[in-house]
Symmetry: C2
Subunit: 478 residues, 2 copies
């Protein structure tokens, strides 16, 4: 199958690559040697890019969709918002849509378009406008809130988002709850929309869109390969001396949704309530700095490090450092370390899915347990195997950590095995296969419709050339 | 029909009444002469009452259910929350449940229990525990958020709330969206619950609960009677000299959800953008101070009055005062005034329903238009007749006000008539009738089941005395 990846140029390198000698009509071969695809960078002016990526995508949509927004305080500047929408978000979506449209027009067989995430809500409708019969599918990685939250944005923006998304044939979400929220929103935001909650469909202006849940996952084999690699084994050797008698770990981007401070507070509260654990239970935190161009993130960074220092000063001494923080982006080390946790703390305030919980479940070798937020998307699959917690309640999280550390071995083993099996049986392949099955069903329908039309046309004017739907997608094993 | 109203004693007067000579087993005749009912006050210690009413009900549940909560800031103190829950909310609910149980035990025929609102989430389960066959119904006046918001509370509290509510046979909400959010929450919060979204039911531990939408309304005749009363006519006389060439009005409790400051800001922005309206379009605001024991509310009070002064200083002069504020609780005056608005601004951030929008629609005599938040429950019924706005967007609200003021007369008339008809056809009677029909359906079912059981018992042991379900409720016309 021929694949072209259309992506926004983010860095100076991307911009150079798009203009390089290698580039042919804006396409370059994939930089990843094992992926047979072409890459097409879309370049827009830097100010438009900042308005698209920093302002609308990461300051507005990210926070709103993660419920990190109090409508009684004035956190958005609506004039700036409208400017960033017009001159950033729309510009970027238009540029991506044009590049996709160009690819569609150049393709020899009718392609299928798969779009990703909250940066591209307007693209599908822009493609459909030019190519009404192309099948488009969009997967949304982050939560989809109640329609009331969507109305916190200006009406023109909310409506454009919904009109853009129902340009798709399928919109995929992490959980059923997100898909239902999307449908409920369509009912009230798109005038004249017909929503069928049981079928999971919205019909608007004659076009039908399916809303589906496809919980995303990890490869499983790839994570285990990394752990077994030379680099993985070296990283493990360096982690081993840092473990306590028992070890809590967390692996997260430094990000408000991840709730890192409350995790450390819960650990401190546990040490306060159970002094016998001091000197015994360590906390290794693998934290990846993120979005440092946004002031909220910079502030959070220093807040987290300050809190760690305070807790270490309070509960540690010359011979024992309660919390050890690794503050960089080293996935191999994090995966290697997760072999050894007794408890993996995954306590996001809200999370679309949370893949760290799934990675931990399959690489851990110590019957380690998950302490998992009820508000993580992953809770729907892993809740049964985890110790649940309410993310904002430090006392409850402290208790959950204690429970996880003190559960009897056979129960630890049972839960760790259950978590592992759930992830093994619902890996990245499952995620992709389910989407491709749904797309193929639509392709079948389109082909049947085209064949019927052809037959009817043959009977009336036999010389005309019918347009056939593309052949079904197939997924290679790799 | 014999009705007993069980209510929490709120004031010193209530407490005295409960202990008065008139009281017989805690019951006193209704203070409202036209209602044939008895009143039973439930008295709990004042500290428990404050924890129940001020802390859990009004600071926690009210804000959470109105989405006025940013989970990344620490606005709840969880230790205080747990204390208020245990020693306030549970205590109050237990006391109410005991009083209701005593009434059930004293009643000559099997009663039906109707519970109201967010102060009493635990009562139904407490009644069911003692009287499993009693039919209980609870109507929730405020929004029901996405289950992710519920998980911002400690797990024990969230679970107790849901377990309490599924003690009811029917839970009523303002909108379909609220009912669906409730069902979605039941699916994830109540372990083992079976939720049927199409039927609108949740079955938990063998008991079935219906979730239904009953949009609340106003009497219509009562509001018009007040306007026509002597007091109403007198109030109107005093309002007339204050009107501008055109007049915007609002009637609200001074309450964060009502979004009063952004309403005044929108008016100011409109005067800024359309200087021709200065000296012509007035704004009369009927504001009722509310919950003055909570510091947030006090702050809002002064913030609102300060903003009014600023706008009046900026756009007014000796001969013209742009905004006129009436800051007290005079419903007759507000109703009388609403006859004369050209635009009624109802721009809550979030509102379960909003009855002011409905009152305005039926008492107004000038083809006045509603500017209405998309996030008000009333929007589902009145949206078509209103000029919609997104509550947080001051620019959009300013534009909506301008549109409402400048719409051609025939369109004003059409929309005003439509709004009036919608409210007339969906009045308080409709609201009550729909609930009673659903209750009667359950009573029918229970009677049929009891009769079947009786028939079977007669065949085996003919002497036994069957317990019959109560007779259906009927609603008198008054």
């Amino acid at each position: 199958m021929e694949v072209t990846w259309v992506a926004m140029a983010m860095t100076e390198g991307d911009r150079l690559a798009a203009r390089s000698a290698e580039a042919e009509c804006g396409r370059i071969p994939s930089p990843l040697p094992n992926l047979k695809m072409q890459l097409r960078y879309v370049v827009i002016p830097k100010t438009a890019y900042r308005k698209h990526y920093d302002i609308i995508s990461n300051r507005v949509l990210w926070f709103l969709q993660h419920y990190l927004y109090d409508p009684s305080s004035n956190s958005f500047n609506y004039q700036r918002l409208q400017d960033a929408w017009r001159n950033g978000y729309r510009v970027a979506n238009q540029a991506i849509a044009e590049a996709v449209n160009a690819e569609i027009e150049r393709a020899e067989t009718t392609p299928v378009v798969m779009l990703h995430d909250y940066h591209l809500y307007l693209v599908a409708a822009m493609i459909r406008e030019r190519h009404p019969s192309i099948i488009t599918q969009q997967f949304i990685h982050i939560p989809w809130p109640d329609s009331r939250c969507w109305h916190f944005l200006p009406s023109n923006i909310t409506q454009e988002i919904y009109r853009g998304l129902v340009g798709n044939d399928i919109v995929g979400f992490q959980t059923e709850r997100d898909a239902r929220n999307f449908l409920e929103g369509a009912r009230t935001i798109l005038e004249g929309a017909e929503v069928d909650f049981e079928e999971g469909t919205v019909v608007w202006q004659g076009h039908r869109t399916l809303a589906r849940a496809y919980p995303i996952s990890i490869s499983v084999t790839e994570e285990r390969r990394i752990v077994q690699s030379l680099a993985g084994r070296r990283a493990a050797e360096k982690i081993l001396p840092l473990l306590g008698e028992q070890t809590i770990m967390r692996v997260d981007r430094i990000e408000p949704t991840k709730n890192i401070p409350r995790g450390f507070q819960a650990y401190a509260q546990m040490l306060e309530e159970h002094p016998e654990l001091r000197g015994k239970v360590k906390f290794l935190a693998f934290l990846v700095p993120s979005r440092q161009s946004l002031p909220e993130y910079k502030r959070l960074n220093s807040e987290v490090l300050k809190l760690v220092e305070e807790i270490n000063a309070r509960y540690g001494d010359a011979s024992w450092k309660p919390i050890e923080v690794f503050c960089d982006n080293d996935r191999t080390r994090a995966l290697a370390a997760m072999q050894f946790y007794d408890v993996l703390l995954v306590n996001p305030i809200i999370d679309g899915m949370n893949l760290v919980a799934k990675e931990g479940a399959v690489v851990n070798k110590r019957n380690g347990l998950l302490v998992l937020s009820r508000t993580a998307g992953a809770f729907q699959q892993l809740g049964k195997a985890a110790i649940p917690t309410s993310p904002l309640d430090v006392a409850e999280t402290a208790e959950a950590l204690y429970t996880a550390l003190t559960l009897p071995p056979e129960e630890r083993e049972r839960r760790a095995r259950l978590a592992r099996q759930i992830v093994e049986q619902n890996n990245l392949q499952t995620w992709l296969t389910r989407q491709i099955e749904d797309i193929n069903e639509l392709l079948d329908l389109a082909r049947l419709a085209a064949e019927n039309e052809e037959r009817q046309r043959e009977q009336s004017e036999p010389e005309s050339e019918p347009e056939l739907a593309p052949s079904p997608l197939s997924l290679s094993a790799g």
